[in-house]
Symmetry: C2
Subunit: 303 residues, 2 copies
């Protein structure tokens, strides 16, 4: 039931109205795999530079994450610098240094090739497809992307999407990819591109998932303190795919529960900078917040 994730491992420098950190551990594959590791085994594929410290590597290993696919390349680790205002829904990128990521060609270790669940984090859609060509038929392929690829590599992205079961992107990206302002219509356009499900991340408003015959919406857990939204989307995906992989059950009912587990994991991540909150989390807290999510959105049916 292991998951293969390909994405970034990075150093983030972040400023929010509540604080500031320099060069803390970040990256899509880092957030994803840490979140997923609460549910199942994770095989990570990414690249870091020679400056990546053993301490971070050890943290991931301690969470049971397989780092056979974490390559160390000559040069420096990927760096991202961003700022958030009081509207925590929007990140303002101040600086991006691709460094070792610039020439990254993913190589999937032999023992990863039969991973049953695959998550293609937000990287060049050509690399995403390259990964799919290296793995045996997985049970489920999920994928993220961003405005940069939708604009700049649309054809490659559409090609990758033909092989994807679940696309996990934010609301603006849905409208941009579908070229349609109405979300429900845009979802239909995207489902015709290949994915069987579209999971739309709406930040503090939660998640809405479109499949051929159903729509599921869940609010976000309303937090008293949103400290830093960085990594929320990848953490969501980690909880979502992690729960699906751990239960090996792709029924609609189970996918809905997985969406809620993803939302729960994201709600913890944003309580601190970097992976600080996830590092201190235990499964009982996850279960307790899932139950709070049920109370939050539950109402009686009518006859």
């Amino acid at each position: 039931m292991s998951i293969l994730v390909i994405g970034s491992v990075a150093f983030d420098s972040i400023e929010t109205p509540f604080g500031k950190v320099d060069e803390v551990l970040g990256g899509s594959a880092t957030y994803f795999s840490t979140a997923a590791s609460f549910f199942t085994d994770v095989n990570l594929v990414a690249v870091v530079g020679e400056d990546f410290p053993d301490e971070h590597r050890q943290m991931l290993v301690d969470r049971g994450i397989d780092l056979a696919g974490l390559k160390t390349a000559p040069g420096k680790t990927f760096r991202w610098k961003g700022r958030y205002g009081f509207d925590l829904n929007e990140a303002h990128t101040l600086d991006t240094q691709l460094n070792v990521f610039e020439t990254f060609k993913p190589e999937i270790p032999v023992r990863y090739k039969d991973s049953e669940y695959v998550f293609l984090a937000n990287i060049d859609p050509e690399l995403q497809l390259d990964v799919l060509n290296q793995v045996e038929k997985p049970k489920l392929i999920a994928c993220d992307t961003m405005n940069f690829w939708i604009e700049g590599k649309r054809d490659a992205l559409l090609n990758t999407l033909k092989h994807v079961d679940v696309l996990v992107i934010n609301e603006g990206e849905v409208r941009q990819l579908a070229e349609e302002p109405n979300l429900r219509k845009a979802a239909q356009v995207i489902l015709s591109m290949g994915p069987k499900s579209l999971v739309v991340k709406r930040g503090e408003y939660g998640v809405i998932m479109f499949s051929e015959h159903s729509i599921f919406a869940t609010p976000a857990y309303p937090l008293e303190e949103v400290f830093d939204p960085t990594g929320a989307g990848d953490t969501f995906a980690g909880g979502f795919i992690g729960y699906l992989a751990s239960t090996r059950n792709l029924t609609e009912a189970n996918i809905r529960k997985a969406v809620v587990f993803g939302s729960v994991m994201a709600s913890f991540t944003v309580e601190s900078f970097s992976l600080d909150r996830l590092k201190q989390l235990d499964y009982d807290e996850i279960k307790a917040r899932f139950k709070e999510m049920k109370l939050l959105s539950d109402f009686e049916p009518i006859v």
Copy 2:
């Protein structure tokens, strides 16, 4: 179980990306009472000018709305002109003509005075308080307001809020009234001002309700066509208070159902200009959409 509503009856001129209408029937009390009339009896208090046609009056009467409190004053009916872009969450006001509303002093007809449910639509908080002084102790008082009064008549508004059970406002207004960017903390501030519940309207993202010991969130019904959002908030309030009044049950479980009925009513209103969709609506359609809302947000609990 009748409801008293005080608010505006207006002519709206509206432009959206999907069409344009001139001087159609609008106003907060109109939307509210039409929506509520699907559930219970409504007593309307408002003012119109001599230009207000019998046809509109007849439509309201046909829905069982009592117009004893609809005063006709010398002059012209209140007019609002607005425009929406593709972001239908935000109205751009082009013109407001208060006309007869400028000198409006609400007089509550004797047979309205024992109304058990009161909705104070978005008008001057001094007039809202004036209405409360004219009615016998109602079972529930709900209230709307807007940025204009939060800025310009804060003290009067805070005075009115002391008497209000449920405040129904949008998200930006919550943050502005509480002077606190975090919604959950802002809700606590507002609950300390008097209201026992705060219902936060979030447009296409649905509704979140805060009470002393519970939070309830529901997504909006995802529509393929949002034609004109005008009146959505007042229609929500009409369905919400209408259902509560018709069931005479103020338990948490019933209030949650009322929020969903309010959301359902709002989802119909935005499908057409003016009250066009509500005029053609029947109760079976309301029930069917309530059931769709249940399917939309339902997920299994964990043990």
